[in-house]
């Protein structure tokens, strides 16, 4: 389709490899900006999306606070306690060790905990959306424990019921794609 004015069997090297490939490619991979949203989001989906957003934002604030406490706290600690320079852990001064080695595992921990929690929020949101309408009306109180087949460890998440009742049936069509 996209081989204009060129018989497919004739392969003549008249351009750079880049251009040749660009001309001969079958289909263009599409990735586009999401369009500006119109008013297609219905009330149930809107409420569910708002609840998910609120949870994610609380989580983001918590993780940011943790990061700030770690960085400013550790540097503040080293500034406030010069004695740590004279304490040695093995051959290395304690303050140097804290700076060089202790900060990285803590950073990793904050990020890993955040990502796990954020994925749980998303799992909950998807589960609430795909739940069968009839069942959800009946069993909203227990879905937190029974509907966790997908998530590792089957952990229950407190707060899952906040978006359960209003979102279940309404978000089914997935106007959010």
């Amino acid at each position: 389709m996209s081989l204009p004015s060129r018989p497919p069997h004739r392969r003549v090297r008249i351009t750079s490899p880049q251009t040749r490939i660009a001309l001969s490619r079958r289909h263009r991979p599409v990735q586009q900006l999401l369009p500006v949203p119109d008013g297609t989001m219905d009330d149930g989906a809107l409420a569910a999306a708002r609840a998910t957003f609120a949870r994610q934002r609380r989580l983001a604030l918590r993780s940011s606070a943790g990061l700030a406490a770690l960085l400013l706290g550790l540097s503040g600690l080293l500034a406030a306690l010069p004695v740590l320079d004279r304490v040695s852990v093995g051959p290395v001064p304690a303050s140097w060790l804290l700076l060089m080695a202790a900060s990285y595992p803590m950073l990793l921990l904050i990020a890993a905990v955040h990502v796990r929690a954020a994925e749980r929020v998303e799992d909950d949101a998807v589960r609430a959306r795909t739940r069968p309408p009839t069942a959800s009306a009946e069993t909203t109180g227990t879905t937190g424990t029974t509907g966790t087949t997908g998530s590792a460890g089957g952990a229950t998440v407190p707060g899952v019921t906040t978006e359960g009742p209003p979102s279940g049936p309404a978000a089914d069509e997935g106007p959010l794609r």
């Binding site: 991979p29 990735q31 708002r50």
Partner: protein, 495 residues
């Protein structure tokens, strides 16, 4: 001579991987972001490879030799940036479908003028960041072959441009993943050998705490006498700057889903934490074995000079060659990422017609490299990490507030974003320029000019928030925000 050979081999290997990748680069989207076919592991390696720049390989040890242990806060901040990326930016950014920060601004605010303003800021940050990379290349080539500084800079510009023109981002992904491994091995192995050959006395002396400011685990800028303020300012710049660096943000659009983007960011933290164990070795040993660099000469050269100074003869030459190749890999991978982001800004966001052909992008790559080379020629005397610190400060004062508020607050308006971006970029570049040309004697003013992030970041956030509050966001703004946080079915095969 061995150094030149090692760099030559590195270039040949990079080219080979790059040419192999050419087959995949098909269109402008491919060329820019590799069309999301990149595996997560390669992606994390590539992000780390692109991120570990001359600032980490050369600059960190160099600045440490000059200013002390506290320099390592730079490394902590460089890594902590990915906590911010994972927690605040990566997932929603990927979901927006934006390749670049200007793209995101367009999506979130629906304004072409904001897109252009962002594109201009991309250019400022990228050029600020490219200068120290090219300086690193010039310095390394001078050390291993004796060519004048400018020859190395010009050669570096040529090599980077050609390697990008040959393949674009797709090939860059593999080249950069490869470069991370090169950097890690070529910095770690010589570091361990040097540690062993330093002997018990050398090691004890390197770890000896004396009563000077050098041994304090805080970062004092220009002997300001305000080490805690300086440390915090550097931490704010590096941590928040990493979340606003255009070439870092661009990388995350090569992941398959929002969920994968977050996880990639976590892996990057692991890779960076591993790497940053080693530059400190060169700084510590350099203080014992090459102390003369701190008083006369360029401390940025310590990583390359140290092996030869400690081990005369063949082994010294071989280790020098390894380190030089590692430094060159650092320069090469970071510069190609920077140049691609810069070229994307020039051709994609600043052009009147929007997205265009690959040819135009190539012209932008060449033009961007030329300007960077010209800017780098007079920069030989400036410390690598000081320049990189400024690039981070500008990113932290502009794109970090834009992305964070754009993703997490529906109230952001076009006017607020524009005012905040303008305030941030003017304040941070102005302060950096002022610190370069003036000579303030002492005190906190020195810190706030030399590393302005401590006040320019809050300023940018405040202006963006305040001006937004004066207006009203469009009615669809809330939906635009909510959609960034709403998981789609593709994210959850099991759900």
């Amino acid at each position: 001579m061995t150094g030149l050979l090692a760099i030559g081999l590195l270039l040949a290997a990079s080219m080979l991987i790059g040419v192999y990748g050419v087959r995949a680069a098909r269109s402008t989207p491919d060329f820019l972001v590799a069309s999301q076919e990149v595996k997560p592991t390669w992606n994390a390696l590539a992000i780390a490879g692109e991120y570990v720049s001359a600032a980490s390989v050369l600059g960190l040890a160099g600045l440490m030799l000059k200013h002390g242990i506290g320099t390592l806060w730079y490394a902590v901040g460089f890594t902590a940036g990915y906590v911010v990326v994972a927690a605040l930016v990566a997932g929603p950014m990927r979901r927006s479908g934006a390749y670049t920060v200007p793209d995101f601004a367009d999506y979130r605010l629906g304004s072409q003028r904001i897109r252009k303003l962002c594109a201009v800021i991309v250019l400022v940050i990228m050029w600020l960041y490219l200068i120290p990379q090219f300086k690193g290349a010039g310095v390394v080539l001078h050390l291993v072959s004796g060519t004048p500084y400018w020859v190395g800079v010009v050669l570096a510009g040529l090599v980077v441009s050609v390697s990008i023109l040959a393949g674009g981002m797709r090939s860059a992904t593999y080249v950069q993943g490869f470069h991370y491994l090169v950097k890690l091995v070529f910095i770690a192995v010589p570091a361990l050998v040097l540690l062993a050959s330093a002997g018990p006395d050398g090691r004890a002396e390197a770890l000896h705490v004396d009563l000077t400011a050098w041994s304090r685990p805080l970062l004092d800028l220009d002997n300001s006498g305000e080490p805690l303020l300086a440390t915090w300012s550097v931490l704010i710049a590096t941590t928040l700057g990493a979340a606003g660096l255009p070439h870092v943000i661009m990388r995350f659009s090569t992941t398959a889903t929002a969920r994968a983007a977050r996880r990639v960011a976590v892996w990057v933290i692991v890779l960076l934490g591993l790497f940053y164990l080693f530059p400190a070795v060169y700084g510590l040993l350099g203080r014992v074995f090459t102390p003369e660099l701190a008083t006369e000469g360029d401390t940025d050269t310590v990583t390359v000079v140290l092996p030869g100074a400690m081990l005369p003869g063949t082994w010294g030459a071989v280790l020098t060659a390894l380190v030089a190749a590692g430094a060159f890999a650092a320069f090469l991978s970071t510069s190609s990422g920077l140049l691609l982001a810069l070229a994307g800004g020039l051709s994609h966001d600043l052009s009147r017609t929007g997205a265009t052909g690959v040819g135009r992008l190539r012209a932008a790559v060449a033009a961007g490299a030329l300007v960077a080379v010209l800017l780098s020629l007079p920069a030989a005397a400036v410390d690598i990490n000081v320049l990189v610190g400024w690039a981070f400060a500008v990113a932290a004062s502009t794109f970090c507030p834009l992305l964070v508020l754009g993703i997490w607050w529906r109230g952001l308006t076009v006017a607020g974003a524009a005012a905040g971006l303008a305030a941030g970029v003017c304040a941070s570049t102005g302060a950096a320029l002022a610190s370069a040309v003036t000579d303030v004697p002492h005190g906190w003013v020195v810190v706030l000019l030399a590393q302005p992030a401590a006040w320019t970041v809050p300023l940018a956030f405040a202006v963006m928030y305040g001006v937004s509050r004066l207006g009203t966001p469009p009615e669809w703004a809330e939906r635009a925000v909510l959609r960034l946080h709403t998981p789609d079915a593709a994210d959850h095969p099991s759900g």
